[in-house]
Symmetry: C2
Subunit: 196 residues, 2 copies
């Protein structure tokens, strides 16, 4: 009862990588099977269908980033400023997306184009992560770390959107993820305007 677990994991890992690289529709079960060192038909011993395999990858992806971000913020010392909390959330979101998890990357790349039923099935999990950010930013605004006039809903969509889009341009040879997180946090909190 151990080999099955390992194979399942190999398939999931391969699927996450392929879905991330080529997207759901363009990824074939043969692609996944090759990467997992088995035949396409064998996948059916572990998963019901391509759809259900995809759904599981998507679930893991969102759960993972939600978990990581929540955990990292919670691990901050008790007196941590709200700005620092947001900074940590940004950095962890970026790190999970760009470095640690093919699942999360696959989730974010594929969500927009995913077939409607799958997207519906996932809305709950997505919103849970969104709600966490809502809390985080709400608390920051209540404490005065974010100006009262700011539309938090837009701010959240804007920042998370910019972070998610980083998949399109991020290359490991440039700025480190920590540096990116620093710059981005400074940019959105302090703005870029000069004296002009």
């Amino acid at each position: 009862m151990k080999k099955s677990e390992a194979s399942r994991r190999r398939i999931l890992d391969a699927a996450a990588k392929m879905f991330r690289d080529k997207g759901y529709a363009a990824t074939t079960l043969n692609d996944i099977a090759r990467l997992a060192r088995m035949r396409a038909a064998s996948i059916y011993y572990h998963f019901e269908s391509k759809d259900s395999l995809f759904a599981e990858v998507m679930d893991i992806g969102i759960d993972r980033i939600h978990d990581q971000v929540r955990r990292a913020v919670a691990a901050l010392p008790d007196g941590a400023s709200h700005r620092r909390k947001v900074h940590t959330a940004i950095e962890t979101h970026l790190a999970t997306l760009l470095k640690h998890s093919d699942y999360t990357a696959a989730n974010i790349i594929n969500f927009g184009l995913a077939p409607a039923p799958i997207r519906r099935r996932h809305r709950g999990r997505r919103e849970a992560y969104g709600d966490y950010w809502r809390e985080l930013l709400g608390a920051a605004q209540a404490a005065g770390a974010i100006r009262p006039g700011v539309d938090l809903s837009l701010f959240r969509l804007f920042v998370i959107g910019a972070l998610n889009w980083s998949q399109e341009w991020y290359r490991p040879k440039g700025k480190s993820i920590a540096e990116l997180a620093d710059d981005v946090t400074a940019m959105v909190f302090d703005g870029v305007a000069g004296e002009g």
Copy 2:
């Protein structure tokens, strides 16, 4: 010599819409043909292949937004501030993407997952648009409208990324595009930080 043009256009419009809704790989020539009120085989009278049809949609998409943004900024009165120029660029980018052009929306949705040869073919056009923004922001920084320390390259990627991502959440019933542009511009120029 007029009917052909009209059919070609109908196919392109249908393709742009389908590619935007379902993505390149998931869109079938049958989908496109149905929307264009003809049979899949007839598409081949006007286009060489699915790939070349896709390539043309992508070209039109990037050209259109580049053109619109450039035109809108150029149309500003002579003494317009750099901040106002950037604001106009943001608003026009958003409007083209979200309201005016299925082609642009299709381009942005599909670029990341597009097959490598097609992406290569497009890098030039994409960079041309990126270069325009580079100019715009460079001039703003040189004139002091953007603080000297700001990493313009990151700022550009960050802002355009956030704008592009708006496709995932924008719904016409919420804030208008003009309002969004106002808020976003204020956010990135002035920041959201409170007294804290």
